[in-house]
Every structure is written in structure tokens, then in C-alpha cells.
Amino acid sequence: MAKAQEFSVVGQRVVRVEGYDKVTGEARYVADVRLPGMLFGKILRSPFPHARILNIDTSKAEKVRGVKAVVTAEDTVKRPWGAFFADQYPLSVGKVRYIGEEVAAVAAIDPDTAEEALDLIEVEYEELPAVFDAEQAMQEGAPLIHDNKPRNTAMTIDVERGDIQKAFTESDLTVEDTFESIPQWHCAIETIGSVAEYAPSGKYTIYMNTQTLFMARYRIAAALGVRETDVRVIQSAVGGGFGGKSCDDNNAMVAAILARKTGKPVKTINSREDEFLAGSRPRVNMKISVKMGFKKDGKIRAKQLRIIADNGAYSGKAPAITGVAALRHDTCYKYSDVKTQAYLVYTNKIPTGAFRGFGNPSAEWAVEQAIDQAAHELGIDPAEIARVNAAEPGYVSPHGNRVTSCELRQCIDRVEKMMEWKKKRAEKKPRIGLGLACTVHVSGKRHFGDYDGGSATIKINEDGKALILCGEGEVGQGAATAMCQIAAEELGIPMEDVEISQADTDLTTFCLGAFGSRVTYVGGNAVKDAATKAKQQILAMASEMLEARADDLVIEHGKVYVRGAEAKAVTVADVARARLFRRGGSPIVASGSFDADSVLPDETRYGNESGAYNFACQAAEVGVDTETGQVKVLKYVAASDCGTVINPIGAEGQVEGSVAQGLGYALIEGLRMEEGRPINPNFSDYRVPSMRDMPDLAHAFARSYEPTGPFGAKGLGELGMDPTAAVISNAIFDAVGVRVKTLPITPEKVLQALKEKVK
């Protein structure tokens, strides 16, 4: 196993490459982009959850001074688009299916004028019966949201591996329960926004804060009915993504439509209300019935899931998310016999979608509580039941996922230690409890066709500095810094001699982008490959200059020398210049790529979804006020196996931020919906954790090395959020003996559960 100490840049606490711009306010976000002649776009949204559009009269709005264009579906190609199922339009065609859907849009000389004009667009609707609950929507006779989707069912999963009946028969204990999760909004402090330009040649240039540039380009092109290269997407600084900026919404499409109609650049920035109504697609809420069989020693014998997932009005990433909820956890522990049935169902609400964890937090909210319940019923320490079942290197899940590196047991050990788990359990105090849960996540996911790859180009400038051209993009998670570290490490040059470009679909090669905890692993491997190839060019040239065999050369701290003869060195800059400034010269430039050794799941969903799997264990100590139901998290610990830690500052930040979002999901967040309308969609009513809400946190990274990862690294970004809600619920159960089975765990629900327990 290689260790971080062997590396010179990888594993160091390096300052973010874009850090200076961010702490000085110089970083350019999409709202900061201003182009000459730029107009401001505003979107008219449906006030009804389900209605037929009979007529739209834009004439009054068009007459407002300063209004340059009003657009409706008539200004579009009326072609549906979507990540997996093409079922939504940039502007409603014929029908609206949720409150907030884009019906028309205005471009005007300033935002106030655009808003004024919105009020003057007259839309005649015929209201249709609507359905808001996924289970009701599946019933015969429920209002049909899409004509071609009977029983409003977007997708069904039905998978059985092994013999589930027999496995339950052979179980010593069976636990069974149903858990519900909620839509959670990303609440990135920056809302979704775009600035679109249209050139008469037919090319759109769109500055946007997307996490997934090339996928955005693909979808925008589809929605506009143009070729991919007719759309250039340039990533601005991104003010937080978490899955919400992976282009499943219509903001950029509308900006492009307005830009084309006006011939001017158009900026559309979501207001906070826009963002709640129809911006980032909130976490898919699910109702999960779980039944699990255990042997006396705690070993899992059988697992059966039935999931009803709420798709909302259109399918973004929810089909893939539902698949993760249905199957992913079977890679966390050693399972043999499993059965899972999942239904993804349309409702007349905001489409749900990708949010950090991608189905895992919902599934683990259910499964990890069932396991905890079994531990209590079997009289086994919850840490022990996790340990006996934990996946290990070489494990192949019932669905084909092949685990290479895995340090889950080490994570459990470290959590026990950090929490003083055994001591606290032995000295159990009233109304204070401990809970724990584990998770598995992927490092990239093969689901957009048979490709889970990435690519990057590195050029060595004539001053010896390397520039990485990469389209994965930086969304705040630190990917750019990690890639620069990987390049510096491989090239043997100092970190400050590596730069990374802005992601731009015209200038960088194809990348899938930031989702699925994939960028460090997949993108990092692509960067490493490019660096290896650039290094070969450096060495070949240096070998001429130093009159030595390339094999005998070393590059260190930006200098190339013959092993053992450091004094006679040339700098990488010398090499770059020598190679360029000569007859027939050429720059040092190399493209690298990587496609994970994963297997696209077949129609039975058997495959190997990722090149590497990441694991974590987390635990909480909570106190419960039994008079008010209030839960206080006293201490939280998290141990993660992400392989080699490339940048500890960044890795710690990922875990800390994930835990915060996980605690929000568990205890605080959620918005009341009435008839498909979010009540009070703002930061006053939808609260996210503040600094005062954060508990004492300790975290650790397992000693781990992923052989297929760049310098042993694998994914981390989502791991920390996956188990958190279950951890909290398990701790509450330990404290006061009740389980709240719907998220969030409000004090009101805790109090109610305590009362029912007394009955």
C-alpha cells in the first residue's frame, strides 16, 4: 500500500488554486457577468399544479416600454428533453404540470421592467384535477399527468437475487418497517443563473453556473433543436451545486430562447423563490418499506425493499436516483439474497432530482434503521452488527458491484474510538443516546450510456508552468485544486507551477462533469494520464539535452536531472523552450483520458456501476428533551474511506459540509406543501443549519489506497451526507426508545412518538 508520505504534493494541505479570487471578492460568478447591451430575463410561472393552456396573450406585455421580447412555446421547437426520459419542454407546450413551471418569459432592459411585463401576460388556463401523492398517483383512475405514462409510473424496478423466500425462512429475526423521506432543497447560496448570447451565425454562447457543462450543452442543444457545437457553455464560478446545478431545469434554455429572439445577451438569474419553485431539483422523496432477515450473530440473511419514489412532474435524474436507492446499499454490507421493487411515480409537483447522496440518503434512512433495530432486538452492539456485515476488498455485490479497496471496518473502529463508543454505552445516561450508520458510495457512475470516463489536456508553457485544460469544472468542492495537485505530483513540478483553465465546452474536451463523487477519481485519472504523457515529452527532450537515457531521468521540483547527478539539471522551463524554439519545434502538450473499469448494468440491473467504491461510518451522541421533543446533537463523528486524501483541507471540508447538510436533512429542513405549492419558499421559512446549529465534530480518514485511483484516491463528496439521517434517528432510539419514521425528525414528531410509546 502506497502512503501519502511518498508524495510531495498529493496529501499536502494546499491552498485552493482559486482561493485568492474567492477571498477578495474577485471570483466571477454568473450574476457578475455583464455584457454590452445585456437584457434581463424573467419567467412567468404556472400558478396551477395541473392545467391546460388555452391561450396566451402577450400583446400587453410587449407594449411595455423597455420590453424587448416576450416568448412562449411558440418561439421554440417544442421538442422535449430530459436527462433520462425526454418529457419536459423549456416553455410549457399545451399543459402545465406543476406550480412554477415555465410558461412564458420576458426580456427587458432591466429586471423591474421585465417583472412588470410578466404581470401583463394573460394566460387562459383550464384547470385539471391534480395529484400530489405518489401512492395516490399510482392508483387506477388518478389524474394522468403524461398521456403515455399509465398509472403515472415513470419507471419500475423489480430485481431479485438469490432466493428471498428461503432466505427469510432461514433468518432468526425479521424486522420490517416503513420510512418516508422528504424533498430537500440544495439551498446553494447562489441560485441558478445564465447569461446567453446568440450570434447570427447560429451559435449560442451561454455562461452558466452548471456542474456538468457537456451534459448541459447536450440538453440545451436538444431543447433548442440545434447541434451540440452550436452551443458553447462556459462555466462561471459556481456558488454551490450539490447536484442542483446539473442542468435538469430550464433556466439556460429560456435565456437562450430570449437571446435568440432579441439578438442581445440575456441574463436570467433565479430569484430565491424561483429556485424553490422550479430551480434546483430537490431530493427525491421516497416511501421505503424495508424487511430484513438476520441470523442470531447479526449477519444479514435477507433484504427486501419496496420503494415508491416521487418523481414530481418531470423526470430529471430521478430514474437513476431511484435505482441507487433500490440497489446501492447492497454494496455496503455482504448481502446474498435481496429483492427490491421500486416505482418512480409522477405527481403534480416540482420535479425532483439530484442532490448529494443521489438516492443513498433516502435508502439508508430506511435500511440503516432496520439494521439498528435488529441490533437492539438481537442484543448486539450496533457497531458490531455493522462490523460483522461490512463489505471488504474482493466483495462482489448481488448486483455485480466489485469492491476493490474497502476500509469500512477501519472506519467503524475509528468511529468507536472517536466517540468513546464502548465507554459511553457502558455508562448509558437517561435521555442520551448513541447511534451509528454506514454507507457506500461510488466514484463515478456508469449510467449515461456505456461511458464513465473523463479527459484532460495538459500543456507545458514555455516558462515551465503547466496548464490543465479540463471540462469537469470546479463547483466549489475543490476539484480544480485536487487536479492541480495530481498534475504537479505526476509532472514533478511545484504546485504553484500548475494552473487549470476555466471549463468551456469549446476549449476543453468532453467530460461528464461533477456528479457521482467522480471528479477526483475519473477526472483525476484523466489529468494524471495527460501528465504522464506530457512528462514523457519532457523526458524525451531532456534526454537529448542531458545526453542521457530518458529512463535514467528524474523530474523533481521542476528540475530534470540524471538520477544521482542532481547538479547537472535543466528546468522544465528549459526543456519546454528548447523543444519549442527550434526548427520543427512543438509545444509540450498531451491529452489524457480515463474510462473506469466498470460495467454498464444490463436490463436486470446487473453490472458494476463504478470503478471504485467509497465507504464511511458515522456516529452521533444526542440528548432528547422528553417534554418538548427537542433533539440536541452533542457530538458527531465521521470516518471516511476515500482512498488517498489528495488535499486534507478539501477532504475535511467535504465531510464537514456533508454532515451539515445531513443534519439539516435529519432535523431541520423541509417545506410545507399545500396542493403542490411550497408554502413560504424562502430562507426565512426553509431554514438550513447555521453556525450555531453545528455540533462538536470529529472526523478521520481511513488509511486506504484505491489501486485504480489517481495516487490511490477515490470519491468522497457525497459520502458524508448519506448515513447522517439514520445516524441521528438511531441515536434518538437509543436515547428514548422511539423512532420517528418520517423526515425531518421534528421535535413535534419525537414528542408524538414518546406519547404513543407510553400508551
Partner: protein, 180 residues
């Protein structure tokens, strides 16, 4: 009716013609071009638009620009001086007190306002004060550490001009000279 309003921002006077309904946030961002101040929630909750006006930390999204005449306004752009970052900026850099960076100008401005009035706050005072600035990336731990690092005097402010020297050295390494 539009009127001329003189705003003193980071020590410089700006004379702007504006409607009285112009919010300070937009005057800074759109009229003056200081886009470091961000808009997050538009209702004074998230703190991304925090600026200091007349010594007070305020939400520029809820402040009329016209009401700020004659007061010193400090934004994130006013912190670094003579090539040196403000200690808080340096601390946020070194201790990883940001990720996506959208809330960072507000966080740093809020922390500055705190330390201006209370250079040695307790941990609780920091947490209470900073709870008005939401961050969705960091979980706040590294923001807290960054501020504590300044309170405890652990931050050495590096002269950013050193960077220019390094770049100049690289520029003078040879090839262009031989070409000329």
C-alpha cells in the same frame, strides 16, 4: 425621481444618479461595479450581501442606497491593502474557510465587523455573530477556525507582491531575450 447620490465606498467617492428605490446592493454591484457583494436570499437572512455602513454590519439587500450618503461603506473589495490581504482573508485562505466562495465576501465582512468591535470574542460570541451568515458548503467548521486563527494571532499576512517578483523572474529566464 432620480437624484444624485454620493457614496463613499472603500474610501472612494462615487457620484451616482439613481432612483430612491435603488438598493445599496445594486448600487454597489451594478452602478459602481463592485460585484464582490453577493445576493443570496433577498430578505436579509443569508448574509451574502453583508457590508459595513458607518461601522455597522448591514444587509445591503435591505438597505436603500440613498440612506447611506455620508457614511463610510466597506465592502470585500476594500479589505486588501497595498498588495496585502486582510488577516481574515489570509486566514480563510489558509484554513479553508470557504469552498464555493459565494458566501465568503459576506462571511469575511461579517467577521471583520465583529473583530472591529470585539477583537477577542469568545467562541460563543463568534458563533452567535456568524450565525447570520449562511454557508451551504463548509458546515462552518473551517470558517470558525479561520476567525479563531485571527483572534489568536496565528495568521501572518503575506505580501502578495512577492508573487509578482516570482513571475518577473520567470519572465527573464532567457528565450525572449535571445530572440530580441
Amino acid at each position: 425621481m432620480k437624484r444624485h447620490v454620493a457614496l463613499n465606498v472603500n474610501g472612494e467617492e462615487y457620484e451616482i444618479e439613481m432612483e430612491p428605490n435603488r438598493l445599496l446592493l445594486y448600487a454597489l454591484r451594478d452602478d459602481i461595479g463592485l460585484t464582490g457583494t453577493k445576493e443570496g436570499c433577498s430578505i436579509g437572512v443569508c448574509g451574502a450581501c453583508s457590508v459595513i455602513v458607518g461601522g455597522r454590519l448591514v444587509s445591503s439587500c435591505l438597505t436603500l442606497a440613498v440612506a447611506c450618503r455620508g457614511k463610510e461603506i466597506t465592502t470585500i473589495e476594500g479589505l486588501a491593502r497595498d498588495g496585502r490581504l486582510h488577516p481574515l482573508q489570509q486566514a480563510f485562505l489558509e484554513y479553508g474557510g470557504f469552498q464555493c466562495g459565494i458566501c465568503t465576501p459576506g462571511q469575511i465582512i461579517a467577521a471583520k465587523a465583529l473583530l472591529d468591535s470585539n477583537p477577542h470574542p469568545t467562541e460563543e460570541e463568534i458563533k452567535e455573530w456568524m450565525s447570520g451568515n449562511l454557508c451551504r458548503c463548509t458546515g462552518y467548521y473551517k470558517i470558525f477556525e479561520s476567525i479563531m486563527a485571527v483572534v489568536q494571532g496565528k495568521v501572518r499576512v503575506e505580501d502578495q507582491r512577492a508573487r509578482e517578483h516570482r513571475e518577473a523572474r520567470i519572465q527573464s529566464l532567457g528565450v525572449y531575450k535571445s530572440e530580441s
